[in-house]
Subunit: 143 residues, 2 copies
DNA sequence: ATTTAATCAGACATTTTTATCTGATTTTAT
DNA sequence: ATAAAATCAGATAAAAATGTCTGATTAAAT
């Protein structure tokens, strides 16, 4: 199986995007997120907990509790979710699995992959999640 | 953990590159590949077997047996290894893990990711492995 | 012929990832 | 007060990926 991000990370990004799209200070329950995004309830619940620990989102317990972004959507980027869940190792390691990637020990696809890595990083870094709001809403409405 | 290709696939690409670099019709043993590339012996052995089944490499049994490319290095590309081991699904699916990726249901990073996907595909498709020979040798000598 | 060194096939084991369960706690609404 | 609906913590389970073992077979070298 080929993968870029782990399931946890994918789900985490989806959830954060959903919070950003759904939010005007409203609390969103794990149950709602689970249903809308079609992610197993208990699993997304765990992911949300871990994102809370990372300080990206906040939660409130009790009836009518739920989750919301810990700060403004204009100050959160997808890379933050990746950093919190999968970490940023992929941006410093080898597609071919060789150890010690460096300009002095380049692998056969060094230059190309280096550029792609940078572009991927840029993709996750350049736009804050509020900018992705309409696209997210459109995507979600098609689920 | 963030990953692009599975370990099997990474090791498979390394092994095929090594065969291409090492080869002038010589047979290379799983043991040698294991030692040079620092891949667990029995594991790389299995991978080599599966690549043989896929027809990418061929083997001969018995003393002084081993593996070699099934066809000229100028007719093998890294994408062939990926196709044989991990499959090509990643080139048709979503970084954010949404189902039904399509232009009519784009995810928030659709355009950028589409382009990156294509570039990644190109990286694995544009050069045949004989072209990567010197780079491979240089990389391996540093292991 | 016998030994040696290799692939091969398939079972087995370990680790990591993904997912679920159980029960406790918190908070709101009635 | 009580019930309802939510998060939370930690254990457990299931599945997938990674890695190992055993013994059989094959073929070259002695
Ligand atoms: S740039 Fe090349 S050497 Fe460096 S990690 Fe990527 S593939 Fe490996
Ligand atoms: S292009 Fe966008 S919608 Fe399509 S798979 Fe990639 S991220 Fe998802």
């Amino acid at each position: 199986m080929t993968v870029i991000f782990s399931k946890k990370c994918e789900y985490g990004m989806q959830a954060v995007l959903y919070l950003a799209a759904r939010e005007k200070g409203t609390l969103v329950s794990a149950d709602e997120i689970s249903k809308v995004l079609k992610i197993p309830r208990e699993f997304v619940s765990k992911i949300l907990q871990s994102l809370r620990e990372s300080g990206l989102i906040s939660s409130s317990k009790g009836k009518s509790g739920g989750f919301s972004l810990a700060k403004s959507a204009s100050r959160i980027k997808l890379i933050d979710v990746v950093a919190a869940i999968d970490g940023l190792d992929m941006f410093d390691s080898c597609v071919l699995g060789f150890q010690e990637c460096s300009p002095t020990h380049p692998c056969p696809v060094h230059n190309t992959w280096g550029s792609l890595r940078t572009q991927t990083y840029d993709m996750l870094t350049s736009e804050t999640i509020d900018k992705l709001k309409e696209k997210t809403l459109h995507k979600i409405s098609s689920l």
